[in-house]
């Protein structure tokens, strides 16, 4: 029998048994839409963690071994901003204490544009461009017994040269690597000599980090570049874990939905058992019956998965505009140190995995009814119904 005719019968069965079709479709539409949204939310959550973690200070890629002249060559496709930082180990001293820190000479204006570090100020303000000011962590300020407006004396390891800076502000990030042993000042305020240049590169949202890294390594072969995944392996693992959890959720949801579909489809098929018996009596072979049932499930799943995907996309589009504020649950979480706003984002994987899984599980759900019908003798069907 022609496949086109079997497809036609399958379509007619679905259209003319519209109540059953609607119930089955509703199940799949709901599941696909929910999973498209959940997948996009998982991507959005991971985006937020990366954005918060890299946007606070480090950037997506950190580089070292770069000279001042080479800095202009860091502007490659995908790089939104390049921050140059000069690092110098110094000893800070106040009237009562000493503290060894790594002093970072920065361009305050550029830093405030690219990072959210200034938002972590608990007292005072971020240092002004060209000033002789220093920005201390709360822990350093406490140890040195300093307040905003106090003066602190700098001593470098190479010399006994002394320099005085005024405390412009005190910060607290809650991240130990940033709250201990670091201090900031305008690059112009650094004591002369012994400075090491480092760069922080901030990428655009969609920029492929591997490609950017590859380009940078080709352009500056002597420099060293480290992506955030390497200097924040904990975050990388957390994101991987998040995706694994989401994959498990998708499979579990569809396993449950497919059992539902299978049961409903079996009831639907058994309701039409006599008709299947008649078709077998007319010469339908096992393959024809299987093709008819598979066509029904495929048509239904393709339709429902398409509608579900569109519905999921619409939901994602709405929440991507307004965002989801989970700040109340993340105030003490270092991965959400800047903002607790989530913006669901669709990736190809997030968009296509739920409908594909729906198709696979939908077809799996058809196996039971197919086997049930094929194994039954038409005479038994016609006798029993």
């Amino acid at each position: 029998m022609r496949f086109a005719f079997i497809l036609k019968i399958a379509t007619l069965i679905l259209l003319r048994s519209w109540r059953t079709t609607a119930v089955l479709s509703f199940m799949v539409i709901t599941a696909v839409a929910a999973l498209v949204f959940l997948s996009a939310l998982a991507v959005g959550t991971n985006d937020a963690m990366i954005r918060n973690s890299t946007g606070l200070f480090s950037g997506h890629i950190s580089g070292s071994g770069i000279s001042e002249d080479e800095a202009a060559r860091l502007q490659v496709a995908g790089v939104e901003q390049v921050l140059l930082r000069r690092q110098q180990p110094v000893i800070l001293s106040s009237s009562s204490s000493l503290e060894a820190v790594s002093l970072l000479g920065i361009d305050p204006l550029q830093e405030q544009t690219a990072t959210a570090f200034w938002k972590k100020t608990v007292q005072g303000r971020y240092p002004a461009t060209g000033s002789q000011e220093i920005y201390l962590s709360q822990e350093s300020a406490k140890r040195l017994k300093l307040q905003v407006g106090d003066n602190v004396t700098l001593r470098t390891h190479q010399s006994v040269a002394l320099k005085q800076l005024t405390v412009s502000g005190i910060y607290k990030t809650g991240i130990s690597q940033l709250d201990q042993g670091l201090a900031f000042c305008p690059a112009t305020a650094l004591p002369p000599g012994g400075q090491e240049l480092s760069v922080a590169l901030f990428l655009s949202a969609e920029a492929p980090i591997d490609e950017v890294l590859s380009t940078l390594r080709t352009r500056l072969p002597t420099a060293s570049f480290t992506p955030w995944m390497e200097f924040m392996p904990d975050l990388k693992q957390l994101i991987d874990l998040d995706y694994i959890c989401m994959a498990i959720v998708i499979v579990l949801v569809f396993a449950i939905v497919s059992v539902g579909i299978s049961c409903t489809f079996l009831i639907f098929t058994l309701k039409n058992l006599r008709e299947h018996g008649i078709m077998k009596a007319m010469g339908f072979m096992a393959g024809d019956t299987a093709l008819l049932l598979v066509s029904q499930v495929s048509l239904l799943t393709v339709f429902a998965a398409t509608v579900g995907t569109l519905l999921g996309m619409l939901t994602v589009a709405i929440f991507a505009q307004v965002g989801i504020d989970i700040g109340a649950f993340t105030s003490h979480n270092q991965y959400f140190s800047v903002s607790g706003m989530l913006y669901p984002r669709l990736t190809r994987l997030a968009l296509f995995t739920p409908p594909l899984v729906a198709m696979v599980f939908g077809l799996a759900a058809a196996i039971w009814p197919i086997v049930t019908i094929i194994r039954k003798n038409p005479a038994d069907i016609l006798r029993s119904v």
Partner: protein, 228 residues
């Protein structure tokens, strides 16, 4: 031609082994109509199912057009049903999701009769059965008589060599039932089909050229010819 020899079939049920058919032998020639008469449970349906390859007999043979259909495998049986044999059941054998025309299209598609030939055949069948204009009607919109006529039209659409009808008039009033049986016999002669109708309706027995009576799965001897 159908030749049945020593056909037997048993069922296993809660009552133990039940002999549905015991040592049945007879033959039907093309263009002949036979009525299988007998009470409910006499084995009429089982006999039709065996001839139609819906069931496999335990012993004996059924030779249809030179082939012993008892030795066919599942695929061959399905092909045999598709090409050579058609059923008309008691009632409700139209597929409810298909229109009248689509129901008629089904056996034609199964037998690769497509395109203009298919359309012509459907039109011809509807005219023959007085149901022109019913193409787009759904089975639920038809009366019992109309539905049975469409079922009969569908059964002969691809011109099978054997037509098996199991209580085809059971859901019809006597007039509609008589008309349907007359139509069946008439078309059976015209098309040269072997027609077997199972019924327990005594009124229909007089319409048949041959009546084969069954009781408890056995053939009853033919009634003696009237004297004089």
């Amino acid at each position: 031609m159908i030749t049945i020899s020593s056909l037997s079939k048993q069922f296993v049920s809660g009552r133990g082994h039940v002999a549905a058919l015991s040592d049945i032998s007879f033959s039907v020639e093309h263009g002949r109509g036979v009525i299988l008469a007998g009470r409910s449970g006499s084995g009429k349906t089982t006999l039709l199912n065996c001839i139609g390859t819906l069931e496999t007999p335990d012993s004996g043979s059924i030779i249809c057009n030179g082939t012993d259909i008892c030795g066919l495998n599942a695929r061959q049986r399905a092909l045999f049903r598709r090409r050579e044999v058609s059923f008309v059941f008691q009632s409700g054998n139209l597929l409810p999701w298909l229109t009248v025309a689509e129901n008629l299209q089904l056996p034609l598609e199964l037998n690769a009769i497509t395109g203009a030939d298919q359309l012509y055949r459907i039109e011809e069948l509807l005219d023959t059965f007085g149901l022109a204009g019913y193409e787009k009607a759904m089975p639920a919109e038809l009366s019992g008589g109309e539905a049975q006529r469409i079922a009969f039209a569908r059964a002969i659409a691809h011109t099978p060599s054997i037509l098996l009808a199991d209580e085809p008039t059971a859901s019809l009033d006597s007039d509609n039932g008589r008309q349907l049986i007359e139509l069946m016999f008439s078309l059976c002669h015209t098309k040269g089909m072997c027609l077997l109708i199972a019924t327990h309706d005594q009124e229909l027995l007089g319409m048949a050229e041959t009546v084969i009576a069954l009781k408890d799965g056995k053939l009853l001897p033919p009634a003696p010819a009237p004297i004089g």
